[in-house]
Structure formats: structure tokens, C-alpha cells
Amino acid sequence: MTKVTLTVNGRKVSGECEDRTLLVNFIRENLGLTGTHVGCDTSQCGACVIHMDGHSVKSCTILAVQASGSDITTIEGLSSGDALHPVQAAFKEHHGLQCGFCTPGMVMTAADMIKRHNCSLDEKTVRSELEGNICRCTGYHNIVKSILAAADEMGGAKQAAE
């Protein structure tokens, strides 16, 4: 067993786990943050995407001990208080989710995608960037729509602030 220390959603946490424990299992089992999901065993589906030191990462591709010391944001920490993050709000407004299982990973991927592209996205780019996230319910139509709307919203907000 090895001690792992992380900052998760702004709080410092630590716990013991086997060296072979994946970060996603540490988040779900040790920390009880079950919003991060496991949908496959081959790092294909993206249901486990979190932000690690500001970048989107599939938390099934990294061991918890490797992540020790890093700053993690999970879906539970994306927004603060009662308000939704603009990506979450856009998914709700545009029906970008159905069963909700892929949703946390989709939202975390989308938030990072919008940031990396400086809020400037088109449909082709969004579809290409979503290659690592599988959804079986929505046919992606409304997910793409939600991400484009969120990018517009966040771009507008950014411009207004500047």
C-alpha cells in the first residue's frame, strides 16, 4: 500500500492504495466521488475524463500513485455552489445528455476543449476532438450543439470581460 496525496476539487486529500490502483478507482472507491465513471477497460470511452493540473485526462490511463501531488478537478468540482458551469448549462439547454453515464466525461472533455481552442470551435473540430468519448444515446448531434453553444457563451463572456 502506498500513500497518495492529491488536491481534489480544491481540497487536499490523501489515502492508501495498492500501487496497481488506477486513478479512476481511487477517485471512486477511496474518495467516494462516483461522478467519474468507468465505461470500458481499454481507455476508449472517455467516461472517466477528469482534469489533472488543468488538462483533461482519462483517469483510467494513469495510476493513482503516479498522480500523487497533482491538482485534480472532477465533475463534482467543475462548478461551484448551485450554478452550473456554462458547459453543464449548455448540455441541459440543448439536451446533450440522455442516460447521463458518458456525460461527466463529455462535459470535462468539452470544458478543456473549449479552453484549448480559446472558445473558437466549429462542428468539424468538435467532432474530431470528441473521438475519445463514446456516447450511445444521443447520436452526438446535441452534444456537438451543446459544446458549440457553450464555446459561444464562454467566448462572449470572455470578450465582455476584456
Binding site: 461522478g35 465513471h37 465505461g39 470500458c40 481499454t42 467543475l78 452550473l84 453515464f101 447520436g139
Partner: protein, 780 residues
């Protein structure tokens, strides 16, 4: 319609918990003392078990116990059954082989469960499972249905000689053969409907909790129909009597049919909890899901369609072989019979139809209903055939279809169904206009100038939903009735809980069902809560599949609302000293028509519960229940048009346009309905372009057992879709709803394949039309 009522595009009430990571799925559950289960599964497609040595595994760190199938048999746990009796055309009942929850004599497919390890952690359970030594005597295996029918093929079950489950037929062969012999033209085609893995993103899971003090069981499970699970586990598998078994299906991450069935794992987790005294949780990994979730489709058919000199269809003859896998899953027998052959008339006036269906065992995963279940197979067969006929006859595909449309309703088909209403021309016209069908030749020429082969294809589908009239399905062999139940509880302050036997696993019932109630009483959407998925809360229900939650589930709610409304009006009339017939409900008030007298909804509710001043003899309270049994199936129909460009160098297909024009009858929430269509189309395109379960024929090993091997549709494989609705309200239910859950998956595969074969000028192409297959077809 109001901003929250019927017809409004209301954002979903359930979304916030999913968007913030607060959904509660089975694998998220943790209960005190809970341990982890891991299944030991057969690595062989067919073998006899000589011995199982669990001693080393039991000594491993963290292991609580290892349990195998003979102990389960000794404890009287029953075998898994198929709940729909089909008789062969000679009158003999179907040959159902024995399916033990844990095999202890013979394993029949790769993934067949043999034992369960229970340990402190999943990692320890998995480690110990590798130490369970099962001594197998490997037998020859067969994976393809046609191979299984050959003389000398390996026998999957001793009581199914020649691997035949049934040899069933519908219609009369003589008149069909006569019409074919007399035809001006006969189109003949072989149709392969590829085997699919449903792949809901949430893998199946079960948590079994035995309470020894109360001798009571609780099962959290990823189910589309928790009440059916409780019924079957009680009545047939002898797990526990119904009053001692609570089944909870909390948030469920998609189903698409695969979570209808009761699988070995939930039975074993409940039994293992009793044996070990600890709660036992099992969650499938994705490879287990590929191995053991019921697959879909896998039909091979020979088709003859006869036309007269005016290009009218005179007869249809179909011979289908359906691969059932190693065991008969819960509703498997109904899929290639009453959910398939009864839809072979499509949207067309066909005087005579004969279909013969051979159901066959193989050493593969069980096959059962997957989104559409039988209806996609019927539609794909018919619409590839119609397209082929149009090409052979030199007619436009739209004209050939249109001239054969059924235009008068009700219409009795030769294969049981009575279509109640529809307007197929309206959907065809809408789809052709939206896709600019007339402008296609110019687009094709423009694409050719860029070196691309452009093609266009359509399909006109019909399906039978609102499953189903209980007496009708009972007469056809169903072991259950397919009504739905609802209870409407108005609280003393006027807020409302609706308890429903439908189950939402992505369909948005918490919103649409609430919209129905909000519309009826003019109360805010937030004052209505939908309760589902727990057998301790909802008395009984048949669950969600077959696009039945709107047409059947909501009709039950509407019936209960009628009773609540009648009682509320009686109370209001009494309080306002008016005649009951003069009371109207508007904007959350009960008013006396033509006067300014009114009572807010909550005051009437409160009066029902204080019971200080109720009409003489009236019981206190405001709570009503209803069971709704549909009078007929519903018949959603529509037209889909797909336009593609094929790269002749690589065979890669790009979908450049996809148009869906559907008639679902009345619509409660257009946003949710469009979402259902989008998702269905993606699954249909997945089947047609990408997906296919592959077994190695010599060993029976599953080759496509991960997302690295099975091509799931991803965002960059698909286009955005153009969706529209044409509405003919369903006459057989109070809301006029037909259902929308499966249409996308039914209508899209033939539209895609007709477009690709049009583009490449070769009709000899099977699903999935991968770049390799398309390229090869272009070289022929």
C-alpha cells in the same frame, strides 16, 4: 400548450444530477459490509466440466468464499427461461435447453459463468478467480446458424436435435407460391442482418443484499424492468418469494433492450449474499459486457417479392434463419416471430405473405431484443428488396414505394397486424423536400468532378410499438401481460407524486411524465415528481422497451389523472356550492365556469386531506391508481433519406446528409423526441457502417470483445441530422401517442445501404459496409 405542458420543449428535470456527477448508478452503491464479486467464466465455446478446484482460490488474501454451480443447484435455484412460447409449424413446442445460472456440467459459449469469487476488494476477487482451476473437456463448437443446421454439426443442447429451437411459419405458402409463379417480375435477394452488441455505456451490475434477520433480499440492478425481474426471480428462479425480494433499478445508464433480461449475475449475487452473509456487488467490465450481454439481430434471409405488370406487389416470401446463441434469453423467441414477421408488410399493400423462420442454437452469446427487436430486421429486408426491385424495374424508388403504399385505414395486413392510422406519403414527401431529392443529380455530378462517388437512398419504415395488448400477446404465447400501471398521489399541499411502472434509463420520463400532469392541472412542473424503479415504492409494472412508456405508461398515468380530476372536481363543486359539471381546471385553479368563483389547486388538495367538509360519503385523500391495457399496437412510420460520398481510392464512406421524417402521433416534448431519433439513427448507422460482432468460427472465441475491436460510432463518424415530424394522432390511446424510441434504429440501416450501393453501382454489399467491403465491391 403552455411553457411547461404538452408540446413544450422543456429542459429535463433530471439533468442536473447527471451533469454534476450526482447520478446514482448501481456501481456507485456502497452498503456496510459490502464485498466484491468476480465471475469465473468459460474460456471455451463448448466443453464439459470435469472438475472445479477452488481450494487455492479460497486461500488467497481477502477472499470470503468461492461458490460454484452445483451448490446453487442444491439450493434449489432454478434455470433461466424464455418467457414466450413459440410452436413450430408442426405444432410442437420450442426446444428450450437448460440454462444454469452457474454451469457445472457443460459450458456452451465463451463467457458462460462457472463460479463466483467474493473478496474484500475487486482486485483480490479478480486475482483469486485466476486461481480457480476448472478442468474442461473441450468439445467442437459452432458459431454460425447455417453451420449449426448442417448434418454432423456439434449439438449445443441434447433436447434440441439438429440445434433447431423451432421451425415456425406465418401466412399460407400455397397462395404465395402461386402469386410468384404468375408474377410479371420477381425480385430475389439474400439479406444478412449483422449481429450487434447493444453497448449501453453503463455496464451491467448487480448488488445482492441478504438480511438474515428479516429473511429478506434487496437487489440493486441495471434493469429496464425491475418488477419483471422480481417476478421472474421469484416465480421461476426460486430466489425468494416476491414479498421477500425488493428490486431497485436506480439511475440506469442506457439499455437498448440488453437490460430487459434477467441474467445469471443478479441471481447469483443474491444467492451468494445469503451464502456468505455479506452484500455482494458485481459490475461487468466491458469485455464481460461484450461476452455476456444479450446480442441483437443475426438473421440470414432469402426473399422473393412478386410484382404484377403495373408494378404492384402481389406476394412476399421470406425464409429466415435466426441465430439464438447458446441459450434462449428471456424474450428471444418473440423477436424473429411476432416482432419481425408481423411487420413484413411494411408500409405496403401486399395481398399475401409467407414467412418461415428457423431458430437455431450456436455456441455464442444469447441473442435477444436490441433496439427495434425484429422490426429493424423486417424493415431492412423489405427496404433493400424494394430498392433492388426499383433498380431492376427501372423505376424511381419513391414512385415504386408510393404506388404500393397503404392509403386506407384501418388496414388488415396478411400477417396479423391491423394498422390503425398513418400517412406514409406525407413523410415521403417531407423527406424528399428536406433532402432536395430533385437536386441530387447536380450534387452527384459536382462530387464526381471532385473524384467522389455520391449516392442517395431512402427507406420507408413501419414498426409496431406500444407493446402490447395483453390478451393478444397472451394468445401468441407471451408469459406476461403487457399493460402498465400508475398511481397519482396528490399531497395535502397540492404537490404531486406519480408512481409509474415504466423505467427511465435515458428517456427523460421525469420530465415528460411531469409535463403531462402539469398540463392537466396547470400546476408548476417542479411540483410534480416521478417515482419509478423500485418494487417497494411502485406496486407493479412491466417496464420500458418497445417504445411503450409514452403510449402505454403515460396512458396509465392519464387514466389515473382522470380519476384524480373527477374527485377534485367533486370536492371543488361541494366547496363552492356549484354543480360538478360546471367545474373547469385552468391555470392551477378549479373554477366554476362562467363565474368568478375559483379555488386554487392546493386548497382542494388540502380539503381532501383535512376532510372537514367533504361531500357526504366521500373518502378522505386524493390518490388514485390505474392499470392501462392497450387496445392495439401503435404504428409509428416514416421515411429516412441518406446521402453519402464514397472515396473510390479507399472505400471510405462519408454521410453528407441524413434526413428523418417521422410520424409518432402526438408529441409531449419535441426536444426529447428528436433526441431519441438522433440516438436511434446513430445506432442504425453504426450497424450499417461500422458494427459487427465477430466470432472465430473454428474456436468460438469472440474477436470483438473491446472498444478497440468493435467499432462503436463516434462523433467524427456521424453527421448532424435533419429531423421533422408528420402527425397522425394514434386513435387507440387517450394521448394519441405512437412512440419514438426505436424508429431511428429501424429506418436508418436500409437508407444508408441503399445510398452506398447507389453510389458504387453494386448492390452486392452486406452490413457493416466497412471501407474494405465497399472498396472490394467497387472492384467487382
Amino acid at each position: 400548450m403552455g411553457v411547461e405542458g404538452i408540446g413544450a420543449r422543456v429542459a429535463r428535470k433530471e439533468d442536473k444530477r447527471f451533469l454534476t456527477g450526482k447520478g446514482r448508478y448501481v456501481d456507485d452503491m456502497k452498503v456496510p459490509g459490502m464485498k466484491y464479486g468476480y465471475f469465473v467464466r468459460s474460456p471455451h465455446a463448448h466443453a464439459t466440466i470435469k472438475s472445479i478446484d477452488m481450494s487455492a482460490a479460497k486461500a488467497m488474501p481477502g477472499v470470503i468464499d468461492v461458490l460454484e454451480g452445483r451448490a446453487l443447484q442444491d439450493d434449489g435455484i432454478g434455470s433461466l427461461i424464455c418467457g414466450w412460447m413459440i410452436h413450430s409449424k408442426d405444432g410442437s413446442p420450442m426446444n428450450m435447453g437448460n440454462w444454469r445460472p452457474l454451469a457445472y456440467e457443460t459450458v456452451r459459449y465463451v463467457g458462460d459463468a462457472v463460479a463466483i469469487v467474493i473478496a474484500d476488494s475487486l482486485a483480490e476477487a479478480r486475482d483469486a478467480a485466476e486461481a480457480v482451476v476448472v478442468d474442461y473437456d473441450v468439445l467442437p463448437a459452432v458459431t454460425e446458424a447455417l453451420d449449426a443446421l448442417k448434418p454432423g454439426a456439434p449439438q449445443v443442447h441434447p433436447n434440441a436435435p439438429g440445434n433447431v429451437i423451432y421451425d415456425w411459419a406465418i401466412g399460407e405458402e400455397g397462395p404465395v407460391d402461386a402469386a410468384i409463379a404468375a408474377a410479371a417480375h420477381v425480385t430475389e435477394i439474400e439479406i444478412h442482418n449483422n449481429r450487434l452488441s447493444p453497448n449501453p455505456m453503463e455496464p451491467r451490475a448487480a448488488l445482492g443484499i441478504y438480511d438474515a434477520a428479516e429473511d429478506h433480499y434487496t437487489c440493486y440492478t441495471t434493469s429496464q424492468n425491475p418488477h419483471v425481474a422480481r417476478l421472474v426471480m421469484s416465480a421461476f428462479y426460486n430466489v425468494a418469494p416476491e414479498n421477500k425480494l425488493r428490486v431497485i433499478a436506480p439511475d440506469v445508464g442506457g439499455g437498448f433492450g440488453s437490460k430487459i433480461y434477467i441474467y445469471p449475475e443478479e441471481i447469483v449475487c443474491l444467492w451468494a449474499s445469503r451464502k456468505t452473509g455479506v452484500p455482494v456487488k458485481w459490475t461487468a467490465d466491458r469485455t464481460e459486457a461484450f461476452l455476456t450481454d444479450a446480442h441483437g439481430r443475426d438473421h440470414l434471409s432469402k426473399v422473393k417479392m412478386a410484382f404484377d405488370a403495373n408494378n404492384r406487389i402481389t406476394a412476399l416470401k421470406v425464409d429466415t434463419t435466426a441465430n439464438f446463441g447458446a441459450y434462449m434469453s428471456l424474450f428471444s423467441s418473440a423477436v424473429p416471430t411476432y416482432l419481425y414477421a408481423t411487420l413484413l408488410s411494411g408500409q405496403y399493400n401486399i395481398p399475401v405473405i409467407y414467412a418461415n423462420v428457423h431458430a437455431v442454437y450456436t455456441n455464442t452469446a444469447p441473442v435477444d431484443a436490441y433496439r427495434g427487436a425484429g422490426r429493424p430486421e423486417a424493415t431492412y429486408l423489405l427496404e433493400r428488396t424494394m430498392e433492388t426491385a426499383a433498380r431492376e424495374l427501372g423505376l424511381s424508388p419513391a414512385d415504386l414505394r408510393s404506388s404500393n403504399f397503404i392509403r386506407q385505414f384501418p388496414h388488415q395486413t396478411p400477417v396479423i397486424m391491423t394498422y390503425d392510422i398513418g400517412d406514409y406519403q406525407a413523410s415521403l414527401d417531407a423527406a424528399m423536400a428536406e433532402s432536395d431529392w430533385a437536386g441530387f443529380p447536380a450534387r452527384k455530378a459536382e462530387a464526381a468532378a471532385r473524384g467522389k462517388k455520391r449516392g442517395i437512398g431512402m427507406s420507408c419504415y413501419i414498426e409496431a410499438c406500444g407493446i402490447a395488448p395483453s390478451a393478444a400477446v397472451g394468445s401468441l404465447g407471451a408469459g406476461v401481460g403487457l399493460w402498465e400501471s400508475a398511481e397519482v398521489r396528490v399531497n395535502a399541499v397540492g404537490t404531486i407524486e406519480v408512481l409509474t411502472g415504466s423505467h427511465s434509463h435515458g428517456q427523460g420520463h421525469e420530465t415528460t411524465f411531469a409535463q403531462l400532469v402539469a398540463s392537466r392541472f396547470g400546476v408548476p412542473l417542479d411540483s410534480v415528481s416521478i417515482v419509478h424503479g423500485d418494487t417497494d415504492k411502485v406496486q407493479m409494472g412491466m417496464g420500458t422497451y418497445g417504445s411503450r412508456s409514452g403510449a402505454v405508461g403515460m396512458s396509465a398515468i392519464a387514466k389515473a389523472l382522470d380519476k384524480v380530476e373527477a374527485k377534485a372536481k367533486k370536492i371543488a363543486a361541494h366547496l363552492m356550492e356549484a354543480d360538478e359539471s360546471d367545474i373547469v381546471i385552468e391555470n392551477g385553479e378549479l373554477k366554476v365556469a362562467g363565474t368568478d368563483k375559483a379555488l386554487p389547486w392546493f386548497q382542494v388538495a388540502l380539503a381532501a386531506y383535512t376532510a372537514h367538509n367533504l361531500p357526504s360519503g366521500m373518502e378522505p385523500g386524493l390518490k388514485e391508481g390505474a392499470f392501462y391495457d392497450p387496445a392495439n399496437f401503435t404504428f409509428p412510420a416514416g421515411c429516412y433519406i441518406c446521402e453519402v460520398e464514397v472515396d473510390p481510392e479507399t472505400g471510405k464512406t462519408e454521410i453528407v446528409q441524413f434526413v428523418a421524417a417521422d410520424d409518432f402521433g402526438n408529441i409531449i416534448n419535441p426536444m426529447i423526441v428528436e433526441g431519441q431519433v438522433h440516438g436511434g439513427i446513430a445506432q442504425g448507422i453504426g450497424q450499417a457502417m461500422l458494427e459487427g460482432v465477430q466470432y472465430d468460427a473454428s474456436t468460438g472465441q469472440l474477436i470483438t470483445a473491446s472498444y478497440m475491436d468493435y467499432a462503436m460510432p463516434r462523433a467524427d463518424d456521424l453527421p448532424s441530422y435533419k429531423v421533422s415530424h408528420q402527425i397522425t394522432p394514434c386513435p387507440s390511446n387517450p394521448l394519441g401517442i405512437k412512440g419514438c424510441g426505436e424508429a431511428g434504429a429501424i429506418g436508418s440501416p436500409p437508407a444508408f445501404m441503399n445510398a452506398v450501393t447507389d453510389a458504387i453501382g453494386n448492390n452486392n454489399l452486406t452490413m457493416p459496409a466497412t471501407p474494405a467491403k465497399v472498396w472490394a465491391a467497387m472492384q467487382q
